[in-house]
Symmetry: C2
Amino acid sequence: MAGEFAFIERLRAIANHPAARGLLDDVAVLDIGAITLVLTHDSLVEGVHFLATDPPESVAWKLLAVNLSDLTAKGATPIGALMGHTLIGDAAWDAAFADGLEQALTHFDVPLLGGDTVRASERHLAMTLIGGAAGPVPSRAGAREGDGLFVTGCIGDPGAGLDLLRRPRVGEGRWTDKAPDARSGPRLREGDELVTAYQRPEPQLAAGQALAPVVTAMMDISDGLLIDAQRLAEASGLAAMIDLDAVPLSAAFKSVRGEARAARLFATTAGDDYQLLFTAADPLPPLPCPVTRIGTMVSGHGIHLHDSDGGVPLPPQLGWQH
Amino acid sequence: MAGEFAFIERLRAIANHPAARGLLDDVAVLDIGAITLVLTHDSLVEGVHFLATDPPESVAWKLLAVNLSDLTAKGATPIGALMGHTLIGDAAWDAAFADGLEQALTHFDVPLLGGDTVRASERHLAMTLIGGAAGPVPSRAGAREGDGLFVTGCIGDPGAGLDLLRRPRVGEGRWTDKAPDARSGPRLREGDELVTAYQRPEPQLAAGQALAPVVTAMMDISDGLLIDAQRLAEASGLAAMIDLDAVPLSAAFKSVRGEARAARLFATTAGDDYQLLFTAADPLPPLPCPVTRIGTMVSGHGIHLHDSDGGVPLPPQLGWQH
C-alpha cells in the first residue's frame, strides 16, 4: 500500500497541467474554446472490481456506469466513449459482454467511438469517457465552512446486493464462498432490487446537471460514502461531521439488513453506490431529485461520525481503495 | 481468432456514430465546434506487447509512443493523456515506470491529465490520448487508384532491435530463450541504435502534420508495414502493389540482417515501426521529412509483393494482430 500511495504521489508531481486538477478529482477538465471537456478513465479488473461469476452483461453495464458516475458529479453530458477490452479466449463471455455494452450505451445514449482489444491472461476492461459541460464544473475542493453535506437517493443498496450474491442461497443445502452464477441460477426473491442495484446501477446524470450550478463541491461516491466524504473534506481543507442516522436507506435495504449502527456503517463503506455527495449552503433551492442532508462541513481535518448514541468510532475500512 | 474477429465485428455494429469511423481507423475523429478532436486508446500487456525484462522506463515511453503514433497519422497535435495503470506489487518497477513516463511526456510535450490505478495480477497499461487537428484529418480509406504508396524514414529498425534483445549475447556462453535484462546486463555493441529504436521509438509528429494536407490516406505502421498496407488497401477498396526492394532500410539494420529478401520480409512484418504509411499523387510537393515510394495503389484486393526476382509469396504472418 505504501508503494501505491508513493506511485500516485509521483503521478501527481508529473500531472502538473491545470486540467489535471492535481489528480485530486475524478476527472480532467479541459477548456477547448467554447466547450469544457470532462474526461475520465476507469478500469475494472476481474476478481478486484467484479466477480468472475457476474453476468458479462452486467460487467459491461458497470464499466460504462462507473465512468458515467464520474461525469455526473461534474454536471457533464457524455459525448462518447473509448474502450480497452481484453480477449482471454472466451468468445461466449465476450459476446454477452458486447450485448450488455450495447444495452448500456443505448440506455445512457453514449456513442462508442473507438478503443482497442488486446490479448491477455486477466480480464481487464478499461474505458475513457469524454463529456462536455456547458456551465460551471464543480470540483471536490470547493466546500466552505458551514456548508451542508448532502447525498442524492439512498445509500448502500448495491453493496447489499453484492453481499447477497456472495451468500449461499436458502435451500441450496451447501455453503460456498463462490458467488452463484446469476446467469443460470435460480432467481433471488428477497433482495432482487438490491442485486439489480449492484448489477445495473444508474448514475445520476440528470441530478448532476441540476445540481452543478447549486453546489460548492460535488463527487460521486462509487468507492463508499465515508471514504469519498473524507476525500471531499481533504480536497476542501475542511472536516466533515456526519450524522449516521441521517443517511437515507431504502426499504429494500432495511428489510434485509435493518437500520442499526452496524447496518449504517455497512451502507456507508460498502462502495458501488452511484449517488452523488455534495456540499451547498442550506436551504437548497427546489430540485428535481431527492436529496438528504447528512452532515456539515467544519474546520479541521478528516471525517467525524455520530448517531443518536453519540460519537461513532471510524471503521478500519472507510470504503474501496483501488 | 475467429472469436476475436467476431467480437470486433460486433463492436463495429455498436459503434455506429460517424466519429467512430466504423472502427476501421486508429482513431476517433470528433468535431467539437472549431476544433477537431482526435482520440485514441491503446494498451500494452506484459508478455504480449512488451517483455517482462524490458526496462520499465522504455515500457512507459512505448505506451506514450504507440498512442502518439496514432495521432501522427492524422496530422494531429497532442492535447493530453489519461493513463490506466496496474499495480501488481512491485514498487520499484512502478517508480522506474513513472520516471520513464515523465521523460516521455516531457520529450513529446504531452500533459498527463488523469486516469486510474488498479490492483491486478497482470501488468496491463492503458492510455487514452486526446489530440486536436486544425486542418483535414486523413483516414485510411481515401487512397485512389494510381496513387503512389510511400513510407517515411526507414523500416525494420525496432523489430531488429527486439530480435537482438531476445538473442543470447556473444560471450555469455549459454543459450536462453529469456530476454537479457537490459537494466543490469552488459551493453550491446553492434545494434545499439536498433535496440534504442525499439525501446525509445520516435513517432513522426512533425512529419504527420506536414503530410496531412498532402496525402489521400495515411496511417501509422506500428503493427508492421505489410499488415498495415493491407488494412489501408482494404479500407480504401483497392489493392497495394509493393516493391520489396524499394523498402528503405537503415545502415544499422543492413549491418545486422543484410538486405536480401528474407531481411526485407522481416523488416516489413516485424512491427513496432513508428513510421507513416501514406498514399498520394506522385510527384509529391517538397517535404521536410524523408519519404520513399514503395508501391502503387491499383484496383483489386489485398497486397501483392514483388522484388527484382519477380513475385514474392505473402508470408503467413503479415505483422502483429492484437
